[in-house]
């Protein structure tokens, strides 16, 4: 079963770590975008581009992170079997 982990803060990321499987992915939004600049899991990673832009992070988007907007977030929640908001 694949899970989309939704991360809005460093604390949320720390809670989610260790509970991610190989088939999962991670979505950073809000202040969680700061976490995407640090250590990333070896999973597909996404951030909400407008949230990153609002924090002046857009130009620092790590190569491993794909920027998405809300319509794509909606479709991602349908692609994965489950979502967990940390």
């Amino acid at each position: 079963m694949s899970t989309l982990h939704i991360i809005c803060s460093r604390q949320a990321y720390l809670r989610a770590q260790g509970l991610m499987d190989a088939s999962d992915a991670v979505l950073f939004h809000g202040d969680g975008c700061y976490q995407a600049l640090e250590v990333l899991p070896s999973l597909p990673c996404y951030w909400v581009g407008s949230d990153a832009k609002a924090r002046a992070l857009a130009s620092r988007c790590p190569q491993k992170v794909t920027a998405v907007e809300w319509p794509k977030v909606v479709s991602m929640t349908l692609v994965f079997d489950n979502t967990v908001t940390w």
Binding site: W70, V73, L78, T85
Partner: protein, 122 residues
Amino acid sequence: MAIFTLLITDNPQAGLHFAKAVLAEGHQLASVFFYGEAVRVADSQVPMVGDEPHIGQAWRDFALAANLDLAVCVAAAERRGILDSEQAQAHDLAVSMQAPFRQAGLGELVTASAQSDRTVQW
């Protein structure tokens, strides 16, 4: 088309972005349920402050435009003094929750979730 239930607990702003995208993409919202600290969004006594965004008003505008009502956990709201007319009368306090927000119980969240393709928390 998919049916979504949204549980809003911590990030009403992100939840609003997601809710708008759900409808814009042609999906359906079975329920939007506010719980925990997020019930403060329903407090009609919070004034607009300068040019700051007012998340409660943004949710109100969205719900009215989309013809939705917004379910608010009755216990979480009452604990924070956010009262509809019936509760306000019972406690002899001012009304602080108005449509499109309305009180609801957790059973309603469970039912909506069971009838939805996805329940997403924000």
